[in-house]
Symmetry: C2
Subunit: 262 residues, 2 copies
Protein backbone atom coordinates (compact mmCIF):
# COMPACT_ATOMS: atom_id res chain seq x y z
CA UNK A 1 0.00 0.00 0.00
CA UNK A 2 1.28 3.40 -1.00
CA UNK A 3 0.35 5.65 1.94
CA UNK A 4 -0.16 9.38 1.42
CA UNK A 5 -0.28 11.39 4.66
CA UNK A 6 -3.25 13.77 4.70
CA UNK A 7 -2.30 16.12 7.52
CA UNK A 8 -0.64 19.03 5.67
CA UNK A 9 -3.93 20.68 4.82
CA UNK A 10 -4.87 24.27 5.59
CA UNK A 11 -8.28 23.14 6.80
CA UNK A 12 -6.61 21.88 9.99
CA UNK A 13 -6.18 24.78 12.43
CA UNK A 14 -2.46 24.20 13.12
CA UNK A 15 -1.60 24.04 9.42
CA UNK A 16 -3.92 26.92 8.50
CA UNK A 17 -2.17 29.18 11.03
CA UNK A 18 1.28 27.93 10.04
CA UNK A 19 0.59 28.86 6.41
CA UNK A 20 -0.72 32.28 7.36
CA UNK A 21 2.21 33.02 9.68
CA UNK A 22 4.83 31.40 7.39
CA UNK A 23 5.74 29.10 10.27
CA UNK A 24 7.90 26.65 8.35
CA UNK A 25 8.88 24.52 11.35
CA UNK A 26 5.24 23.62 12.12
CA UNK A 27 4.83 22.33 8.54
CA UNK A 28 8.13 20.46 8.69
CA UNK A 29 7.23 18.88 12.02
CA UNK A 30 3.96 17.63 10.55
CA UNK A 31 5.81 16.26 7.50
CA UNK A 32 8.38 14.38 9.56
CA UNK A 33 5.81 12.99 11.99
CA UNK A 34 3.81 11.52 9.13
CA UNK A 35 6.91 10.01 7.52
CA UNK A 36 7.92 8.51 10.87
CA UNK A 37 4.47 6.89 11.12
CA UNK A 38 4.77 5.28 7.69
CA UNK A 39 3.72 7.85 5.07
CA UNK A 40 5.27 7.11 1.66
CA UNK A 41 4.18 10.51 0.33
CA UNK A 42 2.61 13.70 1.68
CA UNK A 43 -0.54 15.45 0.54
CA UNK A 44 -0.13 19.25 0.28
CA UNK A 45 -3.28 21.35 0.38
CA UNK A 46 -3.43 25.09 1.16
CA UNK A 47 -6.96 24.72 2.52
CA UNK A 48 -10.14 26.60 1.66
CA UNK A 49 -9.17 29.71 3.63
CA UNK A 50 -5.97 30.39 1.67
CA UNK A 51 -6.26 33.83 0.05
CA UNK A 52 -3.15 33.38 -2.06
CA UNK A 53 -2.91 29.69 -2.96
CA UNK A 54 -0.59 30.48 -5.91
CA UNK A 55 1.96 31.61 -3.34
CA UNK A 56 1.06 29.32 -0.47
CA UNK A 57 1.42 26.10 -2.50
CA UNK A 58 5.06 26.63 -3.56
CA UNK A 59 5.89 27.89 -0.05
CA UNK A 60 4.53 24.64 1.40
CA UNK A 61 6.43 22.58 -1.17
CA UNK A 62 9.69 24.37 -0.38
CA UNK A 63 9.18 24.00 3.35
CA UNK A 64 8.48 20.28 3.14
CA UNK A 65 11.28 19.33 0.77
CA UNK A 66 13.80 20.97 3.05
CA UNK A 67 13.23 18.06 5.45
CA UNK A 68 12.16 15.06 3.34
CA UNK A 69 12.51 13.74 -0.18
CA UNK A 70 9.21 11.85 -0.09
CA UNK A 71 6.88 12.45 -3.06
CA UNK A 72 4.44 15.34 -2.72
CA UNK A 73 0.78 15.01 -3.63
CA UNK A 74 -0.23 18.46 -4.84
CA UNK A 75 -3.85 18.84 -3.83
CA UNK A 76 -5.99 21.57 -5.37
CA UNK A 77 -8.98 21.87 -7.65
CA UNK A 78 -7.20 24.76 -9.41
CA UNK A 79 -4.74 23.75 -12.16
CA UNK A 80 -2.76 26.98 -11.70
CA UNK A 81 -2.18 26.22 -8.02
CA UNK A 82 -1.02 22.72 -8.92
CA UNK A 83 1.33 24.16 -11.54
CA UNK A 84 2.94 26.50 -9.01
CA UNK A 85 3.52 23.47 -6.81
CA UNK A 86 5.01 21.50 -9.70
CA UNK A 87 7.37 24.35 -10.56
CA UNK A 88 8.67 24.48 -7.00
CA UNK A 89 8.98 20.71 -6.53
CA UNK A 90 12.30 18.87 -6.63
CA UNK A 91 10.72 15.81 -4.98
CA UNK A 92 8.61 13.45 -7.08
CA UNK A 93 5.01 14.61 -7.46
CA UNK A 94 1.47 13.33 -7.73
CA UNK A 95 -1.23 15.66 -9.03
CA UNK A 96 -4.36 15.50 -6.86
CA UNK A 97 -6.49 15.61 -8.98
CA UNK A 98 -8.31 15.70 -12.27
CA UNK A 99 -12.00 15.00 -12.73
CA UNK A 100 -13.39 13.18 -15.78
CA UNK A 101 -14.40 16.46 -17.43
CA UNK A 102 -12.81 16.85 -20.89
CA UNK A 103 -11.79 20.48 -20.29
CA UNK A 104 -10.05 19.52 -17.03
CA UNK A 105 -8.31 16.48 -18.55
CA UNK A 106 -7.20 18.73 -21.42
CA UNK A 107 -5.25 20.92 -18.98
CA UNK A 108 -4.13 18.48 -16.28
CA UNK A 109 -2.79 15.55 -18.33
CA UNK A 110 -0.30 17.72 -20.28
CA UNK A 111 0.77 19.27 -16.98
CA UNK A 112 1.41 15.80 -15.51
CA UNK A 113 3.40 14.83 -18.60
CA UNK A 114 5.43 18.05 -18.66
CA UNK A 115 6.46 17.69 -15.02
CA UNK A 116 6.79 13.84 -15.03
CA UNK A 117 4.15 13.69 -12.32
CA UNK A 118 1.82 10.87 -11.41
CA UNK A 119 -1.88 11.70 -11.54
CA UNK A 120 -5.00 11.00 -9.48
CA UNK A 121 -8.21 10.83 -11.52
CA UNK A 122 -11.41 11.16 -9.53
CA UNK A 123 -14.54 9.64 -11.02
CA UNK A 124 -16.68 12.74 -10.82
CA UNK A 125 -17.69 15.19 -13.53
CA UNK A 126 -19.55 18.47 -13.93
CA UNK A 127 -22.74 16.35 -13.79
CA UNK A 128 -21.94 15.59 -10.15
CA UNK A 129 -21.08 12.61 -8.04
CA UNK A 130 -21.77 9.18 -9.57
CA UNK A 131 -24.71 7.35 -8.03
CA UNK A 132 -23.64 3.77 -8.73
CA UNK A 133 -20.85 1.50 -9.92
CA UNK A 134 -21.68 1.76 -13.62
CA UNK A 135 -21.42 5.55 -13.55
CA UNK A 136 -18.08 5.25 -11.73
CA UNK A 137 -16.79 2.80 -14.34
CA UNK A 138 -17.94 5.05 -17.18
CA UNK A 139 -16.08 8.06 -15.75
CA UNK A 140 -13.03 5.90 -15.02
CA UNK A 141 -13.03 4.68 -18.63
CA UNK A 142 -13.17 8.30 -19.85
CA UNK A 143 -10.13 9.21 -17.74
CA UNK A 144 -8.18 6.12 -18.87
CA UNK A 145 -9.07 6.65 -22.55
CA UNK A 146 -8.02 10.31 -22.45
CA UNK A 147 -4.73 9.43 -20.73
CA UNK A 148 -4.05 6.81 -23.42
CA UNK A 149 -4.87 9.27 -26.23
CA UNK A 150 -2.46 11.77 -24.74
CA UNK A 151 0.16 9.07 -24.16
CA UNK A 152 0.20 9.44 -20.40
CA UNK A 153 1.34 6.13 -18.86
CA UNK A 154 -1.63 4.31 -17.31
CA UNK A 155 0.68 2.86 -14.67
CA UNK A 156 1.16 6.42 -13.37
CA UNK A 157 -2.60 6.93 -13.06
CA UNK A 158 -4.46 6.44 -9.76
CA UNK A 159 -8.23 6.15 -10.07
CA UNK A 160 -10.32 7.31 -7.11
CA UNK A 161 -13.92 5.98 -6.95
CA UNK A 162 -14.77 8.93 -4.66
CA UNK A 163 -15.53 7.69 -1.20
CA UNK A 164 -18.72 9.15 0.26
CA UNK A 165 -19.64 9.44 3.95
CA UNK A 166 -21.32 6.28 5.21
CA UNK A 167 -23.87 8.37 7.11
CA UNK A 168 -25.26 9.92 3.92
CA UNK A 169 -24.52 7.36 1.18
CA UNK A 170 -24.64 4.03 2.95
CA UNK A 171 -26.25 2.26 -0.01
CA UNK A 172 -23.28 3.20 -2.23
CA UNK A 173 -20.50 1.71 -0.08
CA UNK A 174 -20.64 -1.73 -1.70
CA UNK A 175 -20.47 -0.17 -5.17
CA UNK A 176 -17.46 1.91 -4.12
CA UNK A 177 -15.64 -1.19 -2.86
CA UNK A 178 -16.46 -3.17 -6.00
CA UNK A 179 -15.32 -0.23 -8.16
CA UNK A 180 -11.85 -0.57 -6.62
CA UNK A 181 -11.71 -4.13 -7.94
CA UNK A 182 -13.20 -3.31 -11.33
CA UNK A 183 -11.08 -0.22 -12.07
CA UNK A 184 -8.11 -2.53 -12.25
CA UNK A 185 -9.54 -4.49 -15.15
CA UNK A 186 -10.35 -1.45 -17.31
CA UNK A 187 -7.02 -1.64 -19.14
CA UNK A 188 -3.80 -3.60 -19.34
CA UNK A 189 -1.48 -2.39 -17.87
CA UNK A 190 -3.93 -1.63 -15.09
CA UNK A 191 -4.43 1.80 -13.56
CA UNK A 192 -3.80 1.93 -9.83
CA UNK A 193 -6.54 2.65 -7.31
CA UNK A 194 -6.66 5.17 -4.49
CA UNK A 195 -9.15 6.47 -1.93
CA UNK A 196 -9.35 9.60 0.18
CA UNK A 197 -10.15 7.57 3.26
CA UNK A 198 -11.33 10.04 5.89
CA UNK A 199 -14.34 11.01 3.82
CA UNK A 200 -16.01 7.71 4.67
CA UNK A 201 -16.48 8.79 8.28
CA UNK A 202 -17.21 12.50 7.67
CA UNK A 203 -19.83 13.59 10.20
CA UNK A 204 -19.89 10.20 11.94
CA UNK A 205 -19.26 9.77 15.66
CA UNK A 206 -16.82 6.84 15.69
CA UNK A 207 -14.53 8.02 12.91
CA UNK A 208 -11.38 5.97 13.48
CA UNK A 209 -13.25 2.64 13.69
CA UNK A 210 -15.18 3.37 10.49
CA UNK A 211 -11.99 4.49 8.71
CA UNK A 212 -10.01 1.38 9.57
CA UNK A 213 -12.88 -0.99 8.85
CA UNK A 214 -13.48 0.54 5.42
CA UNK A 215 -9.76 0.54 4.66
CA UNK A 216 -9.43 -3.13 5.63
CA UNK A 217 -12.31 -4.00 3.30
CA UNK A 218 -10.79 -1.89 0.51
CA UNK A 219 -7.48 -3.74 0.92
CA UNK A 220 -9.42 -6.98 0.45
CA UNK A 221 -10.72 -5.50 -2.82
CA UNK A 222 -7.16 -4.79 -4.01
CA UNK A 223 -6.68 -1.10 -3.16
CA UNK A 224 -3.20 0.20 -4.10
CA UNK A 225 -3.03 3.51 -2.27
CA UNK A 226 -4.83 5.68 0.28
CA UNK A 227 -4.71 9.25 1.50
CA UNK A 228 -5.09 8.92 5.25
CA UNK A 229 -3.90 9.95 8.70
CA UNK A 230 -0.75 7.87 9.30
CA UNK A 231 -0.66 9.07 12.92
CA UNK A 232 -3.79 6.99 13.63
CA UNK A 233 -1.96 3.99 15.08
CA UNK A 234 -4.96 1.67 15.09
CA UNK A 235 -5.59 2.50 11.43
CA UNK A 236 -1.98 1.68 10.55
CA UNK A 237 -2.14 -1.55 12.61
CA UNK A 238 -5.23 -2.62 10.68
CA UNK A 239 -3.58 -1.77 7.37
CA UNK A 240 -0.36 -3.64 8.17
CA UNK A 241 -2.38 -6.66 9.32
CA UNK A 242 -4.63 -6.62 6.23
CA UNK A 243 -1.55 -6.64 4.02
CA UNK A 244 -0.04 -9.41 6.16
CA UNK A 245 -3.13 -11.52 5.54
CA UNK A 246 -2.74 -10.91 1.79
CA UNK A 247 0.88 -12.11 2.07
CA UNK A 248 2.37 -8.71 1.22
CA UNK A 249 4.56 -8.61 4.34
CA UNK A 250 6.21 -11.73 5.71
CA UNK A 251 4.78 -13.00 9.00
CA UNK A 252 6.86 -12.84 12.14
CA UNK A 253 5.57 -12.54 15.70
CA UNK A 254 6.58 -8.88 15.81
CA UNK A 255 5.32 -8.08 12.28
CA UNK A 256 3.89 -4.71 13.34
CA UNK A 257 7.23 -3.51 14.67
CA UNK A 258 9.11 -5.10 11.75
CA UNK A 259 6.92 -3.22 9.25
CA UNK A 260 7.46 0.06 11.09
CA UNK A 261 11.23 -0.37 11.21
CA UNK A 262 11.34 -0.94 7.45
CA UNK B 1 -23.86 -12.20 10.08
CA UNK B 2 -24.91 -15.26 12.01
CA UNK B 3 -22.60 -15.33 15.05
CA UNK B 4 -21.81 -18.61 16.79
CA UNK B 5 -20.12 -18.19 20.19
CA UNK B 6 -17.08 -20.45 20.52
CA UNK B 7 -16.50 -20.38 24.27
CA UNK B 8 -18.31 -23.51 25.46
CA UNK B 9 -15.45 -25.80 24.60
CA UNK B 10 -13.77 -28.25 26.99
CA UNK B 11 -10.36 -27.13 25.77
CA UNK B 12 -10.80 -23.95 27.82
CA UNK B 13 -9.80 -24.60 31.43
CA UNK B 14 -12.99 -23.19 33.02
CA UNK B 15 -15.26 -25.22 30.74
CA UNK B 16 -13.09 -28.36 30.98
CA UNK B 17 -13.37 -28.28 34.80
CA UNK B 18 -17.08 -27.43 34.69
CA UNK B 19 -17.75 -30.48 32.52
CA UNK B 20 -15.70 -32.75 34.77
CA UNK B 21 -17.33 -31.45 37.94
CA UNK B 22 -20.84 -31.22 36.43
CA UNK B 23 -20.87 -27.54 37.32
CA UNK B 24 -23.94 -26.52 35.35
CA UNK B 25 -23.95 -22.88 36.46
CA UNK B 26 -20.46 -22.23 34.99
CA UNK B 27 -21.68 -23.50 31.60
CA UNK B 28 -24.88 -21.49 31.85
CA UNK B 29 -22.99 -18.32 32.79
CA UNK B 30 -20.78 -18.76 29.73
CA UNK B 31 -23.84 -19.31 27.54
CA UNK B 32 -25.64 -16.21 28.80
CA UNK B 33 -22.55 -13.99 28.57
CA UNK B 34 -22.06 -14.92 24.93
CA UNK B 35 -25.72 -14.31 24.13
CA UNK B 36 -25.53 -10.92 25.87
CA UNK B 37 -22.54 -10.02 23.67
CA UNK B 38 -24.40 -10.85 20.46
CA UNK B 39 -24.11 -14.61 19.86
CA UNK B 40 -26.96 -15.92 17.68
CA UNK B 41 -26.02 -19.53 18.46
CA UNK B 42 -23.61 -21.39 20.73
CA UNK B 43 -20.95 -23.91 19.79
CA UNK B 44 -20.89 -26.95 22.12
CA UNK B 45 -17.68 -28.97 22.25
CA UNK B 46 -16.71 -31.40 25.04
CA UNK B 47 -13.03 -30.81 24.35
CA UNK B 48 -10.19 -33.23 23.65
CA UNK B 49 -9.87 -34.27 27.31
CA UNK B 50 -13.43 -35.54 27.66
CA UNK B 51 -13.33 -39.25 28.54
CA UNK B 52 -17.04 -39.78 28.05
CA UNK B 53 -18.16 -37.42 25.27
CA UNK B 54 -21.30 -39.51 24.64
CA UNK B 55 -22.46 -38.46 28.12
CA UNK B 56 -20.82 -35.03 28.30
CA UNK B 57 -22.40 -33.74 25.08
CA UNK B 58 -26.06 -34.27 26.09
CA UNK B 59 -25.26 -32.96 29.59
CA UNK B 60 -23.91 -29.74 28.05
CA UNK B 61 -26.92 -29.45 25.76
CA UNK B 62 -29.32 -29.87 28.68
CA UNK B 63 -27.45 -27.36 30.80
CA UNK B 64 -27.42 -24.70 28.08
CA UNK B 65 -31.01 -25.03 26.98
CA UNK B 66 -32.20 -24.53 30.55
CA UNK B 67 -31.15 -20.88 30.16
CA UNK B 68 -31.42 -20.03 26.45
CA UNK B 69 -33.32 -21.14 23.38
CA UNK B 70 -30.54 -20.08 20.97
CA UNK B 71 -29.52 -22.71 18.42
CA UNK B 72 -26.77 -25.12 19.47
CA UNK B 73 -23.87 -25.94 17.20
CA UNK B 74 -22.92 -29.51 18.11
CA UNK B 75 -19.18 -29.70 17.60
CA UNK B 76 -17.47 -33.08 17.40
CA UNK B 77 -15.60 -35.16 14.86
CA UNK B 78 -17.51 -38.23 16.14
CA UNK B 79 -20.97 -38.77 14.61
CA UNK B 80 -22.13 -40.69 17.68
CA UNK B 81 -21.31 -37.75 19.96
CA UNK B 82 -23.22 -35.42 17.65
CA UNK B 83 -26.15 -37.81 17.66
CA UNK B 84 -26.30 -37.84 21.47
CA UNK B 85 -26.40 -34.03 21.33
CA UNK B 86 -29.17 -34.08 18.72
CA UNK B 87 -31.23 -36.49 20.83
CA UNK B 88 -31.00 -34.18 23.84
CA UNK B 89 -31.64 -30.94 21.96
CA UNK B 90 -34.95 -29.10 22.06
CA UNK B 91 -33.31 -25.94 20.69
CA UNK B 92 -32.56 -25.74 16.96
CA UNK B 93 -29.27 -27.39 16.01
CA UNK B 94 -26.35 -27.08 13.63
CA UNK B 95 -24.07 -30.07 13.12
CA UNK B 96 -20.40 -29.07 13.27
CA UNK B 97 -19.30 -30.78 11.07
CA UNK B 98 -18.92 -33.13 8.17
CA UNK B 99 -15.85 -33.41 5.96
CA UNK B 100 -16.06 -34.07 2.22
CA UNK B 101 -15.31 -37.78 2.71
CA UNK B 102 -18.08 -39.99 1.22
CA UNK B 103 -18.25 -42.28 4.27
CA UNK B 104 -18.68 -39.27 6.58
CA UNK B 105 -21.28 -37.59 4.36
CA UNK B 106 -23.11 -40.95 4.23
CA UNK B 107 -23.59 -40.85 8.01
CA UNK B 108 -23.90 -37.13 8.78
CA UNK B 109 -26.33 -35.94 6.11
CA UNK B 110 -29.05 -38.46 7.08
CA UNK B 111 -28.51 -37.46 10.71
CA UNK B 112 -29.01 -33.78 9.83
CA UNK B 113 -32.18 -34.64 7.91
CA UNK B 114 -33.57 -36.88 10.65
CA UNK B 115 -33.12 -34.20 13.32
CA UNK B 116 -33.97 -31.18 11.09
CA UNK B 117 -30.54 -29.78 11.79
CA UNK B 118 -28.45 -27.38 9.75
CA UNK B 119 -25.03 -28.65 8.71
CA UNK B 120 -21.49 -27.29 8.46
CA UNK B 121 -19.41 -28.89 5.70
CA UNK B 122 -15.67 -28.38 6.00
CA UNK B 123 -13.64 -28.61 2.82
CA UNK B 124 -11.17 -31.19 4.02
CA UNK B 125 -10.98 -34.89 3.29
CA UNK B 126 -8.97 -37.94 4.30
CA UNK B 127 -6.35 -36.69 1.82
CA UNK B 128 -5.72 -33.75 4.15
CA UNK B 129 -6.09 -30.00 4.08
CA UNK B 130 -6.56 -28.38 0.65
CA UNK B 131 -3.55 -26.45 -0.59
CA UNK B 132 -5.32 -23.97 -2.84
CA UNK B 133 -8.65 -22.53 -3.95
CA UNK B 134 -9.32 -25.14 -6.64
CA UNK B 135 -8.98 -27.98 -4.16
CA UNK B 136 -11.33 -26.15 -1.78
CA UNK B 137 -13.89 -25.68 -4.55
CA UNK B 138 -13.65 -29.33 -5.56
CA UNK B 139 -14.32 -30.49 -2.00
CA UNK B 140 -17.13 -27.93 -1.63
CA UNK B 141 -18.71 -29.21 -4.84
CA UNK B 142 -18.56 -32.79 -3.50
CA UNK B 143 -20.35 -31.74 -0.30
CA UNK B 144 -23.01 -29.76 -2.21
CA UNK B 145 -23.58 -32.56 -4.73
CA UNK B 146 -23.97 -35.19 -2.00
CA UNK B 147 -26.42 -32.97 -0.07
CA UNK B 148 -28.46 -32.51 -3.26
CA UNK B 149 -28.47 -36.25 -3.98
CA UNK B 150 -29.73 -36.92 -0.48
CA UNK B 151 -32.25 -34.09 -0.71
CA UNK B 152 -30.74 -32.06 2.11
CA UNK B 153 -31.65 -28.38 1.56
CA UNK B 154 -28.58 -26.46 0.32
CA UNK B 155 -29.85 -23.37 2.13
CA UNK B 156 -29.27 -25.25 5.40
CA UNK B 157 -25.66 -26.01 4.44
CA UNK B 158 -22.75 -23.86 5.67
CA UNK B 159 -19.48 -24.38 3.79
CA UNK B 160 -16.24 -23.76 5.70
CA UNK B 161 -13.10 -23.16 3.58
CA UNK B 162 -11.01 -24.16 6.61
CA UNK B 163 -9.13 -21.16 7.90
CA UNK B 164 -5.45 -21.86 8.55
CA UNK B 165 -3.13 -19.94 10.87
CA UNK B 166 -1.56 -16.95 9.12
CA UNK B 167 1.80 -17.77 10.70
CA UNK B 168 2.03 -21.13 8.93
CA UNK B 169 -0.09 -20.75 5.79
CA UNK B 170 0.23 -17.09 4.87
CA UNK B 171 0.27 -17.79 1.14
CA UNK B 172 -3.16 -19.44 1.37
CA UNK B 173 -5.06 -16.56 3.02
CA UNK B 174 -6.06 -14.92 -0.26
CA UNK B 175 -7.35 -18.26 -1.60
CA UNK B 176 -9.36 -18.78 1.59
CA UNK B 177 -10.97 -15.34 1.24
CA UNK B 178 -11.75 -15.87 -2.44
CA UNK B 179 -13.22 -19.30 -1.64
CA UNK B 180 -15.80 -17.58 0.56
CA UNK B 181 -16.96 -15.63 -2.48
CA UNK B 182 -16.83 -18.57 -4.87
CA UNK B 183 -18.60 -21.11 -2.63
CA UNK B 184 -21.72 -18.99 -3.00
CA UNK B 185 -21.83 -19.47 -6.77
CA UNK B 186 -21.52 -23.27 -6.67
CA UNK B 187 -25.28 -23.76 -6.72
CA UNK B 188 -28.55 -21.90 -6.81
CA UNK B 189 -29.92 -21.57 -4.15
CA UNK B 190 -26.48 -20.81 -2.73
CA UNK B 191 -24.94 -22.61 0.22
CA UNK B 192 -24.01 -20.32 3.10
CA UNK B 193 -20.42 -19.73 4.19
CA UNK B 194 -18.84 -19.96 7.60
CA UNK B 195 -15.38 -19.74 9.17
CA UNK B 196 -13.93 -20.90 12.46
CA UNK B 197 -12.28 -17.54 12.99
CA UNK B 198 -9.81 -17.99 15.85
CA UNK B 199 -7.75 -20.47 13.85
CA UNK B 200 -6.38 -17.62 11.73
CA UNK B 201 -4.37 -16.30 14.67
CA UNK B 202 -3.43 -19.66 16.27
CA UNK B 203 0.11 -19.31 17.62
CA UNK B 204 0.36 -15.62 16.68
CA UNK B 205 1.20 -12.90 19.20
CA UNK B 206 -1.43 -10.25 18.38
CA UNK B 207 -4.43 -12.55 18.11
CA UNK B 208 -7.37 -10.16 18.47
CA UNK B 209 -6.07 -7.73 15.81
CA UNK B 210 -5.46 -10.56 13.33
CA UNK B 211 -8.89 -12.07 14.07
CA UNK B 212 -10.81 -8.84 13.53
CA UNK B 213 -8.82 -7.85 10.44
CA UNK B 214 -9.39 -11.24 8.80
CA UNK B 215 -13.09 -11.18 9.75
CA UNK B 216 -13.53 -7.68 8.27
CA UNK B 217 -11.96 -8.87 5.01
CA UNK B 218 -14.13 -12.01 5.02
CA UNK B 219 -17.24 -9.85 5.46
CA UNK B 220 -16.14 -7.92 2.38
CA UNK B 221 -16.04 -11.27 0.54
CA UNK B 222 -19.63 -12.01 1.59
CA UNK B 223 -19.19 -14.28 4.63
CA UNK B 224 -22.53 -15.37 6.17
CA UNK B 225 -21.50 -16.78 9.54
CA UNK B 226 -18.54 -17.14 11.90
CA UNK B 227 -17.67 -19.13 14.99
CA UNK B 228 -15.88 -16.63 17.19
CA UNK B 229 -15.46 -15.12 20.64
CA UNK B 230 -18.37 -12.67 21.00
CA UNK B 231 -16.87 -11.36 24.24
CA UNK B 232 -14.04 -9.75 22.20
CA UNK B 233 -15.58 -6.27 22.05
CA UNK B 234 -13.18 -4.90 19.44
CA UNK B 235 -13.92 -7.90 17.22
CA UNK B 236 -17.65 -7.30 17.53
CA UNK B 237 -17.18 -3.54 16.88
CA UNK B 238 -15.28 -4.36 13.67
CA UNK B 239 -17.95 -6.83 12.60
CA UNK B 240 -20.83 -4.43 13.27
CA UNK B 241 -18.99 -1.67 11.38
CA UNK B 242 -18.16 -3.93 8.40
CA UNK B 243 -21.83 -4.83 8.12
CA UNK B 244 -22.77 -1.17 8.45
CA UNK B 245 -20.51 -0.36 5.50
CA UNK B 246 -22.25 -3.09 3.48
CA UNK B 247 -25.59 -1.47 4.38
CA UNK B 248 -26.80 -4.40 6.46
CA UNK B 249 -27.55 -2.24 9.51
CA UNK B 250 -28.95 1.26 9.18
CA UNK B 251 -26.55 4.07 10.08
CA UNK B 252 -27.17 6.17 13.14
CA UNK B 253 -24.55 7.97 15.23
CA UNK B 254 -24.88 5.34 17.96
CA UNK B 255 -25.02 2.37 15.55
CA UNK B 256 -22.81 0.21 17.79
CA UNK B 257 -25.14 0.58 20.77
CA UNK B 258 -28.22 0.30 18.53
CA UNK B 259 -26.96 -3.03 17.13
CA UNK B 260 -26.24 -4.34 20.60
CA UNK B 261 -29.67 -3.39 21.92
CA UNK B 262 -31.35 -5.25 19.07
Amino acid sequence: MFIIGELINGMYANIGSAIKERNKSEIQKCALEQVACGADALDVNCGPASRQPLVDMPWLVEAIQEVTDKPLCLDSSKPKVIEEGLKAARNKTIINSTTADPEKLEIIIPLAKQYHSKLIGITISAKGIPQNKDQRLELAATIVATCSEKEFSIEDLYLDPIVLPVNVAQAQMNDILESIHEFRIISDPAPKTIVGLSNVSQGAHVRSLINRTFLTMAVAYGLDSAILDPKDKELMDALITAELILNKNIYCDSYLEAYRKK
